[in-house]
Symmetry: C2
Subunit: 489 residues, 2 copies
Amino acid sequence: MADRAAIEELVRFQGERVRDLKQQKASADQIEEEVAKLLKLKAQLGPDESKQKFVLKTPKGTRDYSPRQMAVREKVFDVIIRCFKRHGAEVIDTPVFELKETLTGKYGEDSKLIYDLKDQGGELLSLRYDLTVPFARYLAMNKLTNIKRYHIAKDFDIAGQFDPMIPDAECLKIMCEILSSLQIGDFLIKVNDRRILDGMFAVCGVPDSKFRTICSSVDKLDKVSWEEVKSEMVGEKGLAPEVADRIGDYVQQHGGVSLVEQLLQDPKLSQNKQALEGLGDLKLLFEYLTLFGIDGKISFDLSLARGLDYYTGVIYEAVLLQTPAQAGEEALGVGSVAAGGRYDGLVGIFDPKGRKVPCVGLSIGVERIFSIVEQRLEASEEKVRTTETQVLVASAQKKLLEERLKLVSELWDAGIKAELLYKKNPKLLNQLQYCEEAGIPLVAIIGEQELKDGVIKLRSVASREEVDIRREDLVEEIRRRTSKLLCIC
Amino acid sequence: MADRAAIEELVRFQGERVRDLKQQKASADQIEEEVAKLLKLKAQLGPDESKQKFVLKTPKGTRDYSPRQMAVREKVFDVIIRCFKRHGAEVIDTPVFELKETLTGKYGEDSKLIYDLKDQGGELLSLRYDLTVPFARYLAMNKLTNIKRYHIAKDFDIAGQFDPMIPDAECLKIMCEILSSLQIGDFLIKVNDRRILDGMFAVCGVPDSKFRTICSSVDKLDKVSWEEVKSEMVGEKGLAPEVADRIGDYVQQHGGVSLVEQLLQDPKLSQNKQALEGLGDLKLLFEYLTLFGIDGKISFDLSLARGLDYYTGVIYEAVLLQTPAQAGEEALGVGSVAAGGRYDGLVGIFDPKGRKVPCVGLSIGVERIFSIVEQRLEASEEKVRTTETQVLVASAQKKLLEERLKLVSELWDAGIKAELLYKKNPKLLNQLQYCEEAGIPLVAIIGEQELKDGVIKLRSVASREEVDIRREDLVEEIRRRTSKLLCIC
C-alpha cells in the first residue's frame, strides 16, 4: 500500500491549499502559481548538490511547528469537531485523489483549477478539489441515502430526503456555533439561493446558456465594484448593457426576511417559478433561524453567488467583520471563513440509475482561521498553555522521591494530569517556579508531617493558599478545583 | 508553500509505513519492496489511458474509511493522546523529510532502509525514518535543553538532564497505561540496557568493531532460533564460535529484578564498568517500577537489542501475549506494539558545540494496533457507535416541529449532543427506532400536555422508562444520566 499512502499524502495538502485559496477568493492565477511551484521544485532548489555543506536546518520550504503553534491548531480543531459531534455527525475519510472523471464537470469555471495527476500513472487522476464531490461519490458507491458526516475536521454534510430547510437551518446553526466558539470576532453569514439567482437572470433577460458564467461574475462582487463586474459581463461575456443594469438593480440589495417578503411581491421575480420556490424556502429558512436564535447573524444577500456548479438551492458564506459595526456604519468584510450550500443533483450524477440523494453542507476555512488566531495571540501577547497538567506533585523536604513517585502514580491511575520534577531532592522553590512557568494551577506537597498525618498539602499557585487534604480525598478535590478552571467553550 | 506541504505529505505515510514495518520486524527486503512500489507506480498502473471508461470507484490502491473504521482509529488515538497529556507532554510537529545528512549515521544497519529523495531536488533529502532523529535535530536547532513532548499521536520523549531512571520509569509507566487502556490483551515489556549488551560483548570477547553488527544479530532472537543467530554471527559476521557460545549463555536469560542482582554477582560481567553501570541503573529502574505498580509487566531480557545505533542506555519493547499465560507455560509473543529507549548522544551530534541533551522516549505502533482492534471487533460482532449523540428530541403528536427546533437548539447551546429527525411530523415509533439503530441512549419527548405542564418526558431507550422532567432541569438531568454511561477508559 506504499503507493496509495504516498500518493494520497502527496496531494492532500495541495488540495486543501487550493481549496482554501478559493474560499479566500484568490485569483485563478494565484492558485495556478501554487500548483506550478510544486512542479518547479527541482529547479527552484538549484543544482548545487556537490557544494552541499551540513547546516542545522529543515529542508527548504519546510518548517517545524512549535508547541505553541500546535496548541492553537489543536484548539481550533477541537472547537470544530466538538460542534460536529454535538450535532450527531459520523466521520469518514476518502482518498486525496480521485479519478479525473469523478471531478470533471462539477465545478464550472473553477474546473481549470483542478490539478491533474494524469502523468503519474495509467488511470487519469486528479487532486480532490474539495471534499463535497468525493463525498457524493462515496454515497453513490456505497448506495447510502442517509448520513450526517464530517470529514477531516472541516467539512460537514447532511444527506437524505427530508422536509424542506430543516437540515439547511442546522448547517447555518453549526456555522454560528463554531464561529462564536472560536471567538475570532463578529461575523455575518450571507445567504442566497441558486434558484433566486437563476430566476433573476431569467427575468433580467440573460440567455440560459450564460447563467453559469454570469453567476461567476456576480460572485466577484464582494471583491470588486459593480462597475467592474458589469464591464466583465458586457465586455468579456457579451451581455447587453441594459440586461447587466437590470441584474445590478437586484444584486446590490441585501437585508433580512423583509427583503425576502419584498421580493416575493416583486412584479417580475414573483412570476418566475424558480425564484418563487427559492424565495419561499428562504422565508421558511428564516423562520427556523429565528427559532434557533441566529436570524440576527444572517443577511439575505442577492450578490452571493458561490462559483461552484453543483449548488442547486440555498447557498451561504460567513465573513468576519473587521470591527464591531458601529451604528449606521457599513461593516467591513475581511474575507470568507466558512461557506456551503445545497447540492441535490450531485449524487445522482454518480449513481448508475441516477437516484438522487439531496445534500446540504458546509466547510470551515481552517487554515485562514489558524492564521487569524495566531496573529491575534501574538498581538495580545497572551500566554498560551501548551500542556494541560492539573497538578505538580512536590515535596517540602529531601528524601521523599519515593513518596512523590507513589503519589503521582496514584494520580495518573485516577486520570489526573500530573507531573513531578525528575530530581531526587528538588527545592520547593524550584518546584513552585516550574508551576508558574508552565501554568500548572495546583501543587500537591508531601512533607514528613503530612505523611504522618495522612494528608497532602494542596496549594493553589495563583492564590498561594494551602490547605491539608486527606489523601483519600485528594483526587476528588483536584477534580473539583480544576473543573472550575476549565473554560466551557 | 505548496512545495513544502505537498512534498511533506508525499513522504509522510511512507515514512510511517517503513517505520511500522521495522517495529514489526519486517525484513529489509519487504521494506525495500514497499519503497520500490512507489517508484514503480506508473508502470504498475499500466498504459491503457485511452481505453479508460468511467466506473464508480476510488483510484487503484486507495480506499475510503467508513464511519466504523474511523471510529476505531479515533478511539485508539484518543487513548494515546490522553495518556500523553496526562503526563504533561506538549505537542510538536516536524517535516516528513529531512536533509539526508541529518539522518545519516544514526540508524546502524537500518540505514539502508532510509528512502532518499535526492532525485527530487538540489538539496539531498531523505524521508524521515522515525520521529526520534527529527526530534533531536529540533532540540539542537532551537537550543532546547528541557522538553517533554509528543509527536503525531504516537511518539513521546523526555529531554533533559535529570536524576537517573526517573523519566525512564515514566516512559514504561506510559506504555503500560496505554496498552492497558486499549484492552488489546495481555502484554509484557522486555527491558535491557545497551551498556549491559556492550559489556557482555566485551567480556565474551567480541572485538569492539563488531559490537553493533553483533547487536543487530542478537536483535533477531525474537523471530529466529539461537542456532540461526549463531550461524549468522559465525558465518556472515566472522565471530569465533566459542565467543558466540558465550553470548548465547547470556542472551537466553530473562527474568525480573532477581536476574539483575544475579548478574551484578556475575564474576565476569561485574568486572566490566559499562555492564555494571547498566545493571545498577536497571536495579534502580525496577525500584521505581515497583512504586508505579508495574514491575509485574516488565521482563529483563538479555536478548533484547533494538537495532538502532542511537540508543545509549535502557531499551524496551512491548509485546502482546497471545493467550493469558498459563502457569509454567511460556507465553507466546505476537509481535511488538510499542518500543523505545534512552539516547543521550543524539542531540550532541547535531549541536555545533556538541552540547549533550539526554533523552528517553517511546513509540506506539499505531497501525498494528488499529488492525488488532479492527480484527477483534469484527470477530466479536460488537456494535460500534459511530456518533456520540446523547439525546434525540422527539414529539408525540403532529405540529410540534417548532417546539422540537427550539428544544434541540437549547440543548446544543448547553453543549448537549442532540439530534432531531428532519421531518415536520415524524411518527413516535420512527423516532424511537432511530435511537435503537444509532445507539442513542435518551429521548426527550415533547407533547401538548408536556408543553402545558412545562415539562419534557425523558425516556431511557434501554429500559423504556419515562419520567417527566421540568424543562429547566432537563440539561442537568441529561448530563447526569449520560455521564454514568460514559466509559472511563
